[in-house]
Symmetry: C2
Subunit: 201 residues, 2 copies
């Protein structure tokens, strides 16, 4: 059985973008697979009492400024010269996450992410507008009409809810969160630990 | 001029204990000095609106459990087999920090920390009791009576207040915080970055 890193994924998180590409490199280096588990970050925050850091830490002088500094350092160190904050952030990602669920049903979740993630975190697309999302998918190898129909499925919607609740039961409270074996790692600054866990797996 | 890492220090923080010894190793490896800057963490929290993580994050399901897990991992990775949570934590560290200020006036701050830190974070001494602290100093190369007199100095007390306010002005909001050159790093998980900054300094 191939070893693997599980990645809890929601398009809404800039740190998920920043962690995704280094995680792929880590996995390749260690001959490991990546398991993408779509979750809904908004639901995760509701279930845990958490909030987006820029809101949660707004009352602490210096804390968000430091988080931005660490984001800038991470971007510089990894050469993410295309990254740009999405002007519509924080946006409701529920439609995107349901589409990712549909792509995952077809085992095309990585292809879906590879296509869409740069639109979100490099080109500032307005992901709250379903027409924008569908127009983007029309430029992709995915069948936008077929996917739009499938994300109406109550079962698919429920699976995303279940993924999120299950992640919280396993200890997750924010993104990016990774699992290697039974071990959880939170935050892009823990990628080195994910790499060590993959090396030991 | 020797390159150096500045370490904002308060005995009250278990993560300061955990970061102190790896920082010494890093500094030695890079031929760098360590500048100890005594601050009062309670004052830093008041000035920034921050709070100890175990209080601040108590309402977020999973967050403190994960912080404990990362503490355990850090302890295991660095072989800190003597570390023990102080049963009196969180204790008022103002007297200890003033004593550290006095030691620093004599350029003996590292010697003072090396003596006292294990009593706090290995042997669970009750640091809120001035008699306990003085009895410990009586077993040390320090002159407890002389130091007890010096920490009554308004100037020394004010210098600790000023150190804390200045640290906040420079961006600090919690401990452990490090500076290399003009660059600030927060958290024991940033020691690798401190090492890279020392290598580049």
């Amino acid at each position: 059985m191939q070893k693997s890193a599980e990645f809890l994924f929601d398009f809404v998180s800039p740190n998920v973008y920043l962690a995704y590409y280094p995680l792929k490199q880590l996995a390749a280096r260690h001959g490991a697979g990546i398991i993408i588990t779509p979750v809904f970050l908004g639901g995760m925050h509701r279930l845990t009492g958490n909030a987006p850091p820029f809101l949660r830490d707004a009352g602490v002088k210096g804390k968000n400024a430091y988080a931005m500094l660490e984001m800038d350092r991470f971007i510089a160190r990894h050469g993410f010269d295309k990254f740009a904050m999405n002007p519509h952030f924080p946006f409701n990602s529920i439609q995107l996450q349901r589409l990712l669920m549909a792509a995952k049903e077809d085992r095309r979740e990585v292809e879906f992410i590879d296509f869409l993630l740069p639109h979100v975190w490099e080109r500032g697309a307005n992901m709250t507008d379903p027409e924008v999302v569908m127009a983007l998918l029309d430029q992709s190898p995915f069948d936008s009409a077929e996917m739009a129909a499938r994300i109406q499925s109550p079962d698919l919607k429920q699976q995303l809810v279940d993924n999120t609740a299950c992640a919280v039961d396993r200890g997750a409270f924010g993104l990016p969160t990774f699992f290697v074996g039974g071990e959880m790692f939170f935050g892009k600054e823990r990628l080195a630990q994910v790499g060590r866990a993959l090396a030991a797996a």
